[in-house]
């Protein structure tokens, strides 16, 4: 991605997030039951949905990598999962803050969505040690793709099993019998959701651009001095856009 498009994307992301959070604080009505603390949902829920979609997208990219053997899909899969793990930390932190404000505890085991998310998060944390433990680059890419597919299939199953085991006390904002959210809340939520989605996309693009640049640098270095730099790239763990 060229730097101009990256710039445009960052401006759009910042603008939408600013508008979204301005609406959150100055326009949406106070929740009758929860009051001010309900407003963290405009951050927490989009983060969680984007992170989960990112994990699944990582699985899809893993599948495409196995199908085509194209290293670019493996790179996508890695970056998607990586950023979703980062978002996952934010989800757990914002969720805990809300739980403390609402129920008085930082952690509530009866809450299936919280527990499922933690399990999924822990599983994806093992992606890094697993990936780093395989030395051969091709094998590493293939195995990481298999992991991404398996874990991607695991995400919905896990949510189902944990939910069945627990009572339902997590707020179901969209699917209540009373008809769910008022329009102003839903509109603001969608703006925030788009903003967080763009933020994720922007970070993905930035990371890709960084990897492309470092790949280019080591390619140029090798061209300059093939003797000294012929074998220096072996130690790098994460995939990058290098072509031999």
């Amino acid at each position: 991605m060229s730097s101009n498009r990256l710039k445009a994307l960052s401006i759009a992301t910042v603008a939408i997030l600013v508008v979204g959070f301005a609406l959150v604080f100055f326009w949406t009505p106070m929740d009758a039951d929860q009051g001010f603390k309900q407003k963290i949902f405009y951050l927490h829920v989009p983060l969680a949905i984007v992170a989960l979609l990112g994990f699944m997208a990582g699985g899809v990219e893993g599948f495409r990598h196995l199908r085509s053997g194209d290293k670019r899909h493996d790179l996508n899969s890695y970056v998607f999962i990586h950023l979703s793990v980062v978002f996952g930390v934010a989800v757990l932190v914002t969720g805990a803050i809300w739980a403390k404000a609402s129920w008085g505890y930082w952690w509530v085991w009866e809450e299936p969505t919280l527990v499922s998310f933690l399990i999924v998060f822990l599983l994806y944390c093992t992606y890094y040690p697993f990936r780093y433990a395989i030395e051969d680059r091709d094998q590493q890419a293939r195995y990481a793709s298999v992991f991404a597919i398996t874990a991607g299939a695991f995400v919905p199953l896990n949510f189902m099993a944990v939910r069945m085991a627990e009572s339902v006390i997590h707020p179901r904002v969209f699917a209540t019998s009373e008809g769910g959210l008022p329009d102003s809340m839903l509109f603001t939520f969608l703006i925030c959701f788009v903003g967080i989605g763009l933020l994720w996309l922007l970070l993905v693009k930035v990371e890709m651009a960084g990897k492309q640049a470092s790949g280019q640098v080591s390619r140029l270095r090798r061209a300059l001095d093939p003797e000294a730099h012929g074998r220096t790239v072996g130690g790098r763990i994460a995939p990058n856009m290098e072509t031999p």
Binding site: I134, R142, I149, T150, V162
Partner: protein, 226 residues
């Protein structure tokens, strides 16, 4: 090309023969399980268990004992060049997956055949819940085998083999363990077995088994490429 059934029987037979002659996995798994029961007896400070506590102790022990076996199922192939030989053989590659999963299933069944009665003698007041428990054991074994074989074949080619298997496997089997313990708990009630939501949990286990058998079957090819 050798028919898959012949290849399956050959690999499974080889694995079981090796295990019978060397006794590398099973005795360790059994000993580990029994020692773990003793630790639970003092850790929980109970001499009898029932309900969800009994289910939890039983499944924790079986799962961790299973990990000992899962760690080892591909080690001999890796060390003695079995993978290379298999790649040269004119057989369907997924046969290795099904044969290894079947071997693991047999190990786990033998383990449970020995360990569950011991568990009953140690902790349970009545053995009446053990018969329906067989269904739960079989359902959970299938899921553990499919995922365990997949994870083990991934981990065996990495630098941190023994570390990675539990690290990857434990989060993946959480849903299976939720279903297994939830189905087991009412069976082991002190008042005698009841079947509260028994069918639902079996269904969850079946779904889980089905999905991960298919995933394993579909992706295993790629783990053998070199």
């Amino acid at each position: 090309m050798t028919p898959s059934r012949t290849a399956f029987a050959a690999i499974l037979g080889k694995d079981l023969r090796t295990e019978l002659r060397t006794m590398r996995s099973l005795p360790a798994m059994v000993l580990f399980a029994i020692t773990t029961f003793i630790i639970f007896r003092y850790g929980l400070d109970r001499t009898t268990l029932s309900g969800s506590l009994a289910g939890g102790v039983l499944w924790t022990t079986i799962l961790f004992a299973a990990i000992l076996g899962i760690n080892r199922i591909f080690v001999s192939e890796q060390e003695e060049g079995g993978f290379d030989a298999f790649r040269l053989a004119p057989v369907d590659r997924t046969v290795l997956f099904t044969a290894k999963a079947a071997a693991l299933f047999i190990y786990l069944s033998v383990l449970e055949l020995i360990v569950v009665p011991i568990f009953a003698i140690f902790f349970l007041d009545s053995a009446s819940g053990l018969l329906p428990l067989i269904v739960v054991l079989a359902g959970a074994n299938l899921g553990i085998c499919a995922l365990g074989t997949l994870i083990s074949s991934m981990a065996v080619n990495s630098r941190a083999r023994d570390l990675l298997v539990p690290l990857l496997l434990l989060p993946l089997v959480v849903p299976l363990m939720i279903a297994a313990t939830s189905a087991t708990a009412p069976l082991l009630e002190a008042a005698g077995p009841s079947y509260d939501k028994f069918g639902t949990w079996l269904l969850v286990m079946g779904l889980y088994d089905g999905i991960f058998c298919l995933v394993g079957y579909a992706v295993f090819d790629f783990l053998l490429e070199d």
